[in-house]
């Protein structure tokens, strides 16, 4: 167990180092995630203990960004002045994102996968 926890930290550390040395504008933990993907690709499977640790960390992922989110208290004035632009931008861009992704996937999927798996439970639709 401890080994895989160490592996996760080591991946992040390696990610931070690589990003720092190469001076690429990518967040260190994301580089660490790529390294971890590479490790899993080599292993060709997820070791059970690693899966358990990931489950623990990700099971409460939303708790982990509470401290940073509380930082909005520093920006009340900014939000007060620009709330309209913020709200419209968030609302419209989310709908546009869903519509574009869904439409493109529908068009490509039709051509890409002629043998798309059919629903195994007929009559449910």
């Amino acid at each position: 167990m401890l080994f895989y926890l160490t592996l996760i930290f080591a991946c992040q550390l390696a990610g931070e180092l690589i990003v720092g040395i190469l001076a690429v504008p990518v967040p260190g933990p994301v580089a660490g995630m790529v390294i971890m993907l590479g490790v899993l690709g080599l292993l060709r499977r997820v070791p059970q203990d690693l899966g358990a640790i990931a489950q623990t960390l990700l099971g409460h992922l939303s708790l982990l960004f509470v401290p940073a989110a509380v930082g909005v208290m520093l920006h009340f004035r900014l939000i007060g002045g620009e709330w309209a632009a913020m709200s419209v931008a968030v609302l419209v861009s989310t709908l546009v994102g869903i519509a574009v992704t869904g439409a493109v996937m529908m068009v490509l999927g039709r051509r890409d996968a002629p043998s798309a798996p059919q629903s195994s439970r007929p009559g449910e639709d």
Binding site: A54, V66, A85, M86, D112
Partner: protein, 239 residues
């Protein structure tokens, strides 16, 4: 009473106090979220943030003091981001057959959402910090905050945009896809996962197992691509 005052002064300066506050406030949020039957609008993070901010304002505590305690929770964001590789790897093997269509639609939707947010923010007179905070709002919070910081945004503001995006996607996504006639579970999952990350993916799992798997993978891949490409595009956009 005087003793209470003294004890409060002592405890409020200790990391333990604000660490406990963070955990407790999140528990309250989680409790209400489950009580509501996992209704997206009753988001546990939003509730926790509202409770904590309210408490800090009432007690006149500044954010720096709060963060002294909360940093122990915050620190785990990095390892958790690395751990995102595990579900991505698992889901990839499940949806391998349609990865080309998935990647193309994911890139199209991700770019459209980001540019749309940037354009609207700019057109409506938002400042650069706000626009930079809006740009990565489609992706999962830990990565979005890191990208936001990288391009000169405000990570805390980004976290609120990201959560709002997730709630909108989870609530309006299935309806919008019905309107557009997108029926395929894969397409629906990719659309909701790309545009509204984990909160949307949780909603997609309710629709079907397949939609959930595609949503989870789309969320991971979009986080990865956005984190790598957005900072580079940003440099070029703001030149």
């Amino acid at each position: 009473m005087e003793q209470l005052q003294k004890t409060w002064v002592y405890l409020s300066a200790q990391p333990l106090f604000h660490l406990t506050l963070t955990l407790a406030a999140f528990q309250v949020g989680l409790f209400l979220y489950r009580r509501s039957g996992s209704f997206a609008l009753v988001n546990p993070v939003l509730i926790a943030v509202a409770l904590i901010v309210g408490f800090l304002v009432l007690t006149g505590t500044d954010y720096g003091t709060y963060f002294q305690g909360a940093q122990f929770v915050h620190f785990l964001l990095g390892p958790a981001t690395v751990a995102l590789a595990i579900p991505i790897f698992r889901q990839f093997s499940r949806v391998r057959h349609s990865w080309k269509a998935m990647l193309a639609s994911l890139v199209a939707g991700s770019v459209a959402a980001s540019l749309c947010a940037i354009a609207i923010g700019w057109a409506m007179g938002a400042g650069m910090a706000t626009i930079a905070s809006l740009a990565p709002k489609s992706i999962t919070t830990p990565v979005a905050m890191a990208v936001s910081e990288q391009i000169g945004g405000l990570p805390s503001l980004t976290s609120v945009f990201v959560i709002a995006t997730g709630i909108i996607g989870a609530m309006a996504g299935p309806w919008l896809l019905d309107r557009l006639g997108v029926k395929d579970a894969a397409a629906r999952g990719v659309a909701i996962g790309t545009a509204s990350h984990g909160i949307g993916a949780a909603r997609a799992i309710e629709e079907s197992e397949a939609a959930g798997a595609f949503a989870g993978l789309a969320m991971g891949v979009n986080a990865l691509l956005t984190a790598i490409l957005l900072p580079l595009v940003w440099v070029w956009l703001t030149k």
